[in-house]
């Protein structure tokens, strides 16, 4: 049982305050959705949790099972069990998927998993209908939007993090790929007890990736939290209602 505890997190980008005090707690096996309009700070939240350069944390804490993630470099946060599925996965020319995963597993002391990596990759690729020919491509090079997200999901399945942050999993991919990726994440919550923080703009994704909790992020703050029904309210009324709540 693991818990990611975000407390009063504030952050700036290029001197501009983007996160205004985020409080969120996600535990193993749970799916939480963070929904918000453009510019609410959704991508900043995922970047700050993972330690992306260019973002400055000005206050608060990010604790994974009590360990302060903000004090660790990015690779140690990942090794501790955090994983970021990126909205726009970076192309890394000449670096093969299996080479990177082998190093990532090695740095976690999972030598045994390195030995079986090839078989694991093929099995996991099959589960999400990711064509095996893409396994030999350099990372994200010459992949379509859907293939990139399948590739991101594949990596998550192999690395088996405790908590995964999925940043706009639904952007740039077709309905089939969305379903394949979302189902794999749901499976992981059951099989591996994964906790998932799903960051999204649209409620469409939540038809496949069913959250137990929904949080509305507006102007860098969670303005309302509730059950899955909150997504339905959002679908019906839009973000305006919540923006008004926040302003008032």
């Amino acid at each position: 049982m693991s818990t990611l505890d975000i407390r009063g997190l504030t952050a700036t980008v290029a001197g501009k305050q983007i996160l205004n005090g985020i409080d969120l707690t996600i535990s193993s096996g749970e799916v939480h959705a963070v929904m918000g309009p453009n510019g609410a700070g959704k991508s900043t939240l995922s970047a700050v949790i993972m330690g992306k350069p260019g973002y400055t944390v000005t206050g608060g804490q990010v604790l994974l099972d009590g360990v302060d993630m903000l004090a660790l470099p990015t690779w140690k946060r990942a090794a501790a069990g955090l994983h970021l599925v990126m909205q726009y996965p970076t192309e890394v020319p000449g670096v093969q998927l299996d080479a990177m995963l082998a190093e990532a597993l090695r740095d976690r002391g999972r030598e045994k998993d390195v030995a079986t990596l090839g078989a694991t990759l093929r099995a996991e690729a099959g589960r999400i209908n990711f064509d095996e020919k893409f396994l030999d491509r350099a990372l994200n090079v010459d992949l379509s939007g859907g293939e990139k997200k399948r590739n991101e999901t594949l990596q998550m399945s192999v690395l088996k993090p405790k908590i995964a942050i999925l940043d706009e999993l639904d952007s740039g991919l077709d309905v089939d790929a969305l379903r394949d990726c979302a189902r794999r994440v749901m499976d992981a919550t059951r099989e591996d007890n994964l906790g998932a923080l799903v960051i999204t703009h649209y409620s469409r994704l939540l038809e496949e990736l069913r959250p137990s909790r929904v949080h509305i992020l507006v102007k860098g703050r969670i303005v309302q939290s509730g059950g899955p029904e909150l997504a339905d309210v959002l679908e019906r009324d839009g973000y305006a209602t919540f923006s008004a709540t926040f302003s008032a």
Partner: protein, 392 residues
């Protein structure tokens, strides 16, 4: 002290009668280059004192090739040579620059000849195992590929780290009609060795030449390459991987010269510098008036891996006709931060992430090397060199 003077070589009695002695006279008369000359701008030529070196026979081994590759060797110390070989050397030595003249005067010649329609499937591997501080070596490799023939030549330069020696190699590739010539030069010299090299290829009608370079060694290593397309429909490619560390400097000059119509050339040079190392790439695409319908591409990319490292990239175009397709691109900069973050966000250690990204950067060149089997060991050498850079 023996020095590189005409008298010295004359007294050794070891010259080919005409070519060598006239080259010697030219070497004595040729001005010593300075960095004021465009061709030597950025170079470390000012540091070179030829008086500190004495010419020596080049210890070379030749393996591979098989029956269809005819190898002829003529050492510096040979008293005479077959007169028919003079066709392989420049007849007019009066315009030669200093190092071209020095090579011609002192050369140890290896000629690789392939008759028309012969395909040499096994690469010819020439290894210059150099050693001895104060020695100067002048290997000259001539590749003569007959009509519709095919050959691959690998030339390796090796020396121990401490030996302050000078090597002035010349490569001369002649591809006749429809011949396919692939060449790979590997600089694995020690960190005190100097290399000032000159490469030229001429490609006749429908020929296809590849000149590849991997430079890891040397204190100062400069290679000037001119690929000329003299017959229509000819194609030439140049690729290079260079990686300088410590206080090394790699210096490249390239020329893609289109003389005839419908010729194509492509160039990809990728380099990295770490510690306080330096690199220079200066490339020119020259398209003559008659070379209509030609296409020429040139890409140079450089990674600066340390704050103290320095890389310069200078692409140039000289085009005398409108009917051409040309492009050039050049970049100098540190490793992409987003790429490192991507790998680190998967839990890859920063030093390993950097190694993966740099190796990935070079992969594009390694994949194009003419002898694929060598790519693995060269990749490992790059990897080891990166590790040394991290520790310093």
């Amino acid at each position: 002290m023996p020095v590189l003077t005409p008298d010295m070589v004359r007294s050794s009695g070891a010259s080919w009668p005409d070519v060598r002695s006239s080259a010697l006279a030219r070497a004595a008369a040729a001005p010593f280059p300075t960095t004021d000359l465009e061709h030597w701008r950025y170079s470390r030529i000012d540091e070179l004192d030829l008086a500190r070196f004495a010419p020596a026979d080049t210890p070379s081994t030749v393996t591979g090739g098989g029956a269809d590759a005819v190898i002829t060797r003529v050492a510096t110390s040979a008293a005479s040579a077959d007169a028919s070989f003079t066709r392989l050397f420049p007849s007019n030595v009066h315009d030669l620059e200093l190092f071209a003249a020095l090579n011609l005067a002192h050369m140890d010649v290896i000629v690789v000849s392939v008759a028309a329609n012969k395909v040499v499937s096994e690469p010819v591997v020439i290894t210059h195992q150099l050693g001895g501080s104060g020695k100067a070596f002048f290997p000259r490799v001539v590749v003569e590929a007959g009509r519709n023939s095919e050959v691959t030549v690998v030339e390796r330069f090796v020396s121990p780290d401490g030996d302050a020696l000078l090597v002035v190699p010349v490569l001369d590739v002649r591809a006749e009609q429809a011949a396919r010539v692939r060449y790979l030069g590997i600089n694995e010299l020690g960190t005190s060795s100097w290399l000032i090299g000159d490469q030229q290829s001429s490609g006749d009608r429908d020929s296809d030449t590849l000149l590849a370079t991997v430079a890891l060694g040397g204190d100062y290593a400069r290679v000037s390459t001119a690929a000329r397309l003299i017959g229509q429909g000819g194609n030439t490619r140049q690729v290079a991987l260079y990686f300088a560390g410590g206080t090394q400097m790699h210096d490249f000059r390239t020329l893609q010269e289109h003389v005839s119509p419908r010729t194509t050339s492509d160039l990809l040079f990728k380099g990295a510098v770490q510690d306080t190392a330096k690199s220079v790439y200066t490339g020119l695409i020259k398209i003559h008036k008659d070379a209509k319908g030609s296409a020429a591409f040139q890409t140079n990319r450089n990674l600066t891996l340390s704050h103290g490292a320095w890389a310069e990239s200078v692409p140039n175009l000289d085009i005398e006709t409108n009917d051409v397709k040309c492009s050039h691109a050049s970049t100098v900069g540190p490793i992409d931060e987003e790429q490192l973050f991507y790998l680190e966000s998967r839990g890859v250690r920063p030093d390993v992430a950097q190694r993966l990204v740099v190796l990935g950067f070079f992969d594009e060149v390694l994949a194009q090397l003419p002898v694929g089997e060598l790519a693995t060991s060269l990749r490992a050498q790059v990897s080891r060199k990166l590790a040394i850079g991290e520790q310093s």
